[in-house]
């Protein structure tokens, strides 16, 4: 197909052509950036928690009057929950991955260091590793005699007496790699305060923070052997088979209520709900962007259909003449398709530059990362496709123009 005649035709409709090119360029630029934003959201929503998500339930209860011995109360509750049929394992924890509300500590590698090395989430709870289903990569799990009551630990912290403080901890692989790159973390010491030195005894495959907003730091977590006792911020985590979750939750709540009818259940949900709630903003943003992209592509397609139809109507006679001179229907069809391809290509080329510019602006104002080059071809292919689909109708109509039109006066 010779493109020179097409170019000379377009030169006669310079302005409308440029408007169409501009529209394609803008669409391309916005689509590239929006698809990139959506991709980022989807990637975030896929963030691993490190736990057996489809097998976990979370329950939180609040007491009207605080129990006299919260540690005994917690142990009773856990024992009760273990007896619920089809429960595989029960743990207590001060927080859950993606649970939003978090407890964190400053980590130092040297007790004398003035500023923290980093800020990590500290999980306090018993039986967490088997219940959460996170894998121990090396070392050992926490043992019952590692655990210290929180009251005792805080008192010891006040007096500086280190014997009643916890001495060991589990950390995630990511945290180990960040603290001691390429080295064996087992046996190394982390300081939460100058007197609280915790020896790393086990390394976890993965365990996300409750407030995993920053993907890079989402796995900065450790498990410390501290018993928190029953209180309303403490969660009971129950592991069961995915198909048993609903029935186990009902039975577990009934068991807790039976033990003390006066208490209030504040949280009862599956871990799937935890994840859904935590990432709802990302899902919303992705949904909204998809909506806008669809509207944008529809508008652009409508614009192409409109202009192409207009051009076909305008050139009916010319088409008739070409047909009379021997051009096939295919020739006419290809003419309009090529014309659209040319316009789309120029538009896409401009759109790439614009997309890069918009990305720079967003990077500057909204702390977004650089647009990876892979999104440019995506935008290009989408617009080429949209252009070709949109022009097909008018082009077919053009191809259907009979040669006899050439012989009629306007």
């Amino acid at each position: 197909m010779d493109i020179l005649p097409i170019l000379s035709t377009l030169r006669r409709h310079k302005l409308t052509s440029w408007l169409l090119i501009l529209e394609i360029a803008l669409t391309c630029a916005i689509v590239c950036n929006a698809v990139f934003l959506i991709g980022q959201r989807l990637q975030r929503m896929d963030m691993p928690s490190g736990v057996a998500e489809h097998e976990l339930l979370q329950i939180q209860v609040a007491d009207v009057t605080a129990p006299s011995n919260p540690y005994a109360r917690l142990a009773e509750d856990v024992a009760l929950l273990r007896q619920v049929p089809r429960v595989i394992s029960v743990a207590s924890s001060n927080q859950v991955p993606f649970g939003s509300s978090s407890s964190n500590g400053n980590i130092r590698l040297d007790p004398a260091q003035p500023e923290r090395t980093l800020f990590a989430t500290t999980y306090f709870g018993e039986n967490l590793v088997p219940t959460l289903g996170t894998r121990l990569v090396s070392g050992r799990d926490l043992q019952p005699d590692d655990f210290v009551d929180v009251e005792t630990a805080l008192k010891a912290l006040g007096t500086g007496e280190s014997k009643s403080l916890p001495h060991v901890t589990l950390i995630t692989q990511t945290l180990a790699e960040r603290l001691w790159p390429g080295q064996n973390p087992l046996g190394r010491i982390i300081y939460l305060t100058p007197v609280v030195g915790l020896r790393v005894v086990g390394v976890l495959d993965s365990l996300a923070r409750p407030n995993a907003y920053d993907t890079a730091k989402a796995q900065y977590t450790m498990v410390v052997p501290i018993r928190m006792g029953a209180n309303k911020d403490q969660s009971y985590l129950i592991r069961t088979r995915p198909e048993d979750r609903a029935s186990v939750l009902t039975a577990a709540l009934a068991a807790l209520k039976k033990a003390d009818p006066q208490r209030v259940v504040t949280t009862k949900r599956s871990f799937d709900e935890v994840r859904r709630k935590f990432f709802q903003d990302d899902r919303a943003m992705a949904g909204m962007l998809v909506g806008v992209i669809v509207a944008l592509l529809i508008v652009t397609a409508l614009g192409i259909v409109g202009l192409a139809s207009f051009w076909v109507a305008q050139r009916r006679r010319t088409i008739g003449v070409r047909r009379a001179l021997g051009a096939t229907r295919g020739n006419i069809l290809h003419y309009f398709q090529t014309e659209n391809f040319l316009l789309a290509t120029i538009g896409i080329a401009l759109g790439m530059v614009l997309a890069y510019g918009i990305n720079l602006f967003l990077m500057l104002h909204y702390e977004l990362p650089r647009l990876p080059a892979v999104y440019f071809p995506i935008g290009a292919v989408v617009l080429w496709l949209i252009g070709q689909v949109a022009v097909l109708g008018p082009a077919l109509r053009a191809a259907a123009v009979p040669p006899v039109v050439a012989t009629r006066s306007v």
Partner: protein, 441 residues
């Protein structure tokens, strides 16, 4: 004359229904998408207390010093909430016209009817000045008095919702409600009051919250009863003592604070008082650093806390981009349509129509397309706002509402935008040379 142009426009639009429909559809989509995102943006960036927001201030004191900010912090911002010691010092000094320290509580309330289960409600422990300072509307009764504050009186203000649940909606002032196992006298029942963003305690609510605040009790009473903090607690070092008492003695931040200052003089006086206070703390050895305070009014504080999600801003930008594409699109289609009618323009011009008349005729036509697009846009915006709740979190989606101003704005944007898009095509149409057009026919 206008009627004549309207008729001309109608005729012309009818002549090419396909093209007209395309333009109307494009404008409808563009306007609806931008208006839907705008409604969300407007909802989240709105001023929750417009008549007073410039008089309400959030003081911030640097009780952590540079060490508490971590190695990666580049700004020298003090913490955004307060520890107990400083909040109490500010309350005692009482330098503003009205002020209140507050913290979030989540007590259990036991209904008088023994057959009902206790319920867990959320609320705030506040000072008496909280209610007049925020112009909180009361359905029955009032807030408590300053004496109740200092005497740690067992009084409570409850929401209308909780009043419905506990007392069947009747005036319950003077009756008792059991909170955390203790009896409190109801002194006031709130009317419907659920400001969004929850500007008085942004730090704990993240700005938006679906829940209604059900109960308010005197701050010092809540402290005395050991009602624990249900909001965020942030510590730069582990408290030396455990429990709620340990928290009160620590430098952990968990208290929100707001003060009303009526004019610039009061603001600068308060500012210098804050600096004086921090300097005293430095002299006393409690702070090992120079005073580093902030005093932001509500809009500035909301901005500082980034209450408007940057997501919303980005999606507004994307929607604006869509509107621009729609305009370019419409401009292209109108140009094609108008120039096709060069001969008609030629005839009108030859018969004596001035350029202005051509302008009027074609802008009327563009405006009509805009109006039609706007009406379609209205329908689509309705659909959009309704489906926002499907994608957005409930707390934000419930704020996006279809109201008269949004509807009017949709129509206005559609008509103005289309007329703007029609300007250049009209300009080109008015430049048509009549003689040349007449000759070529």
């Amino acid at each position: 004359m206008f009627n004549y142009y309207l008729e001309l426009a109608l005729r012309s639009l009818k002549r090419s229904p396909g093209l007209t429909l395309l333009m109307v559809l494009a404008i409808g989509f563009g306007v609806a998408a931008s208006m839907t995102t705008w409604s969300v943006f407007r909802a989240v960036s709105g001023d929750p207390i417009p008549w007073k927001s410039s008089k309400l201030f959030v003081p911030q004191i640097d009780m952590w010093g540079p060490k508490g900010r971590g190695p990666n912090s580049t700004d020298n911002e003090p913490p955004d909430a307060m520890d107990y010691t400083d909040a109490m010092a500010l309350m005692r000094a009482h330098r503003g016209k009205l002020q209140s320290a507050m913290y979030q509580i989540s007590p259990s309330v036991v209904p008088a009817d023994a057959s009902k289960h206790p319920i867990n409600v959320s609320g705030h422990a506040v000072y008496s000045e909280f209610f007049p300072m925020l112009d909180v509307p009361f359905l029955y009764g009032n807030g408590w008095s300053a004496d109740d504050d200092s005497q740690r009186a067992a009084v409570a203000v409850i929401s209308g919702k909780l009043n419905d649940k506990l007392f069947g909606g009747v005036n319950s002032v003077g009756r008792t409600v059991s909170i955390e196992g203790k009896d409190y006298r109801v002194v006031g029942v709130l009317g419907s009051w659920n400001p969004q963003p929850r500007f008085y305690d942004v730090v704990n609510t993240g700005g938006f919250s679906t829940g209604v605040e059900d109960v308010f009790v005197p701050f010092e009473r809540a402290i005395a009863m050991g009602m624990p903090n249900d909001g965020n607690t942030n510590c730069s070092e582990i408290p030396a003592q455990s429990g709620f008492v340990g928290l009160q003695q620590s430098s952990c931040i968990w208290i929100a604070y707001m003060v009303q200052l009526d004019d610039a003089a009061a603001v600068s006086a308060y500012r210098s008082w804050l600096d004086g206070y921090a300097k005293d703390q430095q002299t006393a050895g409690r702070f090992g650093w120079a005073p580093n305070n902030r005093l932001r009014d509500v809009p500035a504080f909301l901005d500082h806390e980034q209450v408007v999600p940057s997501d919303t801003k980005v999606s507004l930008l994307v929607a604006l981009g869509l509107l621009i594409v729609c305009l370019v699109n419409t401009a292209g289609l109108l140009l094609a349509k108008f120039l096709r009618r060069s001969s008609e323009i030629g005839v009108r011009r030859a018969l004596g129509a001035p350029r202005g008349a051509i302008y009027a005729q074609f802008l009327t036509e563009a405006g009509m397309i805009g109006l039609a697009g706007g009406v379609l846009g209205l329908l689509l915006t309705g659909v959009g706002v309704a489906s926002v709740s499907w994608v957005l979190p409930k707390d934000i989606a419930s704020l996006a509402r279809l109201d008269f101003s949004l509807l009017a704005l949709t129509l206005l944007v559609a008509v103005v935008a289309t007329t703007l898009a029609g300007l250049y095509p009209t300009f080109r149409a008015s430049r048509v040379q009549p003689a040349w057009q007449l000759k070529s026919n």
